[in-house]
Symmetry: C2
Subunit: 189 residues, 2 copies
Amino acid sequence: MAPGARERILDTAFGLFYAHGPRGVGVDTIVAESGVAKATLYKHFPRKDDLVLAYLDRVDQVWFGQLRAAARTAGEDPRDQLVGLFDAVVRACRREGYHGCAFINAAAETDTATDVHARTVEHKAVVRAWVADLARRAGAADPQLLARQLTLLLDGALTAGVLDADPAAADGARRAARTLVAEATGGTW
Amino acid sequence: MAPGARERILDTAFGLFYAHGPRGVGVDTIVAESGVAKATLYKHFPRKDDLVLAYLDRVDQVWFGQLRAAARTAGEDPRDQLVGLFDAVVRACRREGYHGCAFINAAAETDTATDVHARTVEHKAVVRAWVADLARRAGAADPQLLARQLTLLLDGALTAGVLDADPAAADGARRAARTLVAEATGGTW
DNA sequence: ACGCTAGCAGACAGTTCTGTCTACCACCAC
DNA sequence: GTGGTGGTAGACAGAACTGTCTGCTAGCGT
């Protein structure tokens, strides 16, 4: 009880939604697993979609935090930070129960007109804007282009990480990122 | 009747599965839409999963055909062909009703131990092997690495194409491909 | 003592899903 | 004409789904 019903629901939903996809988990399962009453769940999240959106918000926080940490760890040079982003991917793919990008997975099972889809687009746009800022500070000739290319690689690597357990995927992405950053900033460093 | 019930079922399933994801389409819907009797559907495809796999096989044929056509159109030089692959992505993303990579979408809503997941892994491996052969003929220092990087970009671009209608995504992927191919084959051409 | 808030427990309605089954029909080979 | 093949039409069972509702309990501020 101490952590409050809302947190328990979100914790449970986080694990189940990520493992099986929002559509693959019934409300009853979340109720049973979290030990919360059904009425309580529907008080906090009137519709299942509200719970899904709260789940995605949490994923956004966690994943963005990991990206920031990876960049911070990579060093002072923004170019190193851009490449360092892919350490977050490498680490994520190695994690037990890794199942790809939660946003991509969630969007894959919804129509393009839904809130879930919109939230996914928004998340990707925010990440790309942040990468573009790094690219600008790295002195890229076209920061928007470089950010676009790196986030494409990012999404590709996140997807490949679940399809193909081979860690060569994330490593290949990292090396590709280095090549693209070098090309965009005019030479190696 | 002329085209046979099996084809009618597959045609209908192809459209519906791609638009809403296999899990988002009930067997009843396919029955109604294809004008086929339920018993007939279950005679040809004893389980829904069998129909999903047949759907994926058809997607594989179609998409691989488009990749091959894009490479062929790009010219004689294997390096041009590697870059030309991304024309297939550009064209796919522009198509009305584009909804991303059918394999990635299908895999996103299944467990990793399922047939659907395995078929997806297989498809991606076949495409990558084919790209690796192109990379070898293009004289890449490490064809496996280049193929890995290009297919990462491919998957990233296919995913971005549905999340973000901006055609800059596929174009960015194309330009990144050119950079990576140049780097791997030692200089521009 | 009183009322308010938060929560638990579980029945319930109504829909939708997969998969099975019965009954009938049309054609074609022999 | 007779039997096999492939198809239609639709009822049906059994499960799972979302969302609602009733009743009960415990704590807490005043």
